[in-house]
Symmetry: C2
Subunit: 134 residues, 2 copies
């Protein structure tokens, strides 16, 4: 598919601008498209509010090496992006973001990916130091 | 959203028929909408061909208790379904299926969900029997 084609979906327009911004490191620009009271359902649980969303995005972004867009579809209020995300720890991860958009801002993001490869790429925490015998 | 609305996307029409069939146990009916040489990218890896796809679907289906459709979007050749899937082991799992459809059949399905809750719900295999000392 060609995501540079103009879209008639206002929600998809917002989703693509948001995606372009955050994946290229423009976190502030991305967050301008996110509502203050955004709800994000991510594999590790629900985030509520932009103050929780900001570090979630900002801390993850430096790991991103690139992506391959597979599908970008939308209607009036909903947009879905499906892409292969390339990160430093996980070479390729199929990822879906399903956005609800209202008044030009993302009010709900459902983020879907398999955490398993990320968990496997993260070294297990080292054993705590042995208690000193007294 | 109302998924009973008529769709102008031929790919989405096929995806919704397929979804309705397999989630209600009509595996043969679902498989009529899947190409013989289907490719399925699932969290555990790639399946190729309908003979691999059939048991994948048939073995999983009995676990399904229901679903809540969140988004169903499509264009000429692509459809994406995002839904909360309710299964016996995992109460609610955000799931995305991204279909490529050609000539009325699914030729590629990219299935995205987090395996973590499923792994947590599956008892770890018991330890193998100790080797007998000779």
């Amino acid at each position: 598919m060609n995501t540079t084609e103009p879209t008639t979906s206002p929600a998809l327009q917002v989703a693509l601008e948001y995606h372009q911004a955050w994946t290229t490191g423009s976190i502030d620009q991305a967050l301008e498209l996110v509502a203050t009271d955004v709800v994000c359902d991510a594999p590790r649980g629900r985030l509520t509010g932009i103050e929780a969303y900001r570090p979630f995005l900002a801390n993850f972004q430096p790991l991103v090496l690139g992506y391959e867009m597979i599908s970008a579809l939308g209607d009036e209020e909903t947009a879905v992006l499906v892409y292969e995300l390339h990160t430093a720890p996980v070479t390729s991860a199929l990822t879906c973001e399903c956005f609800t958009v209202r008044d030009g801002q993302i009010i709900h993001n459902r983020l879907i990916f398999d955490q398993t490869p990320h968990a496997a790429a993260t070294p297990a925490p080292s054993a705590p130091p042995s208690p000193q015998s007294s």
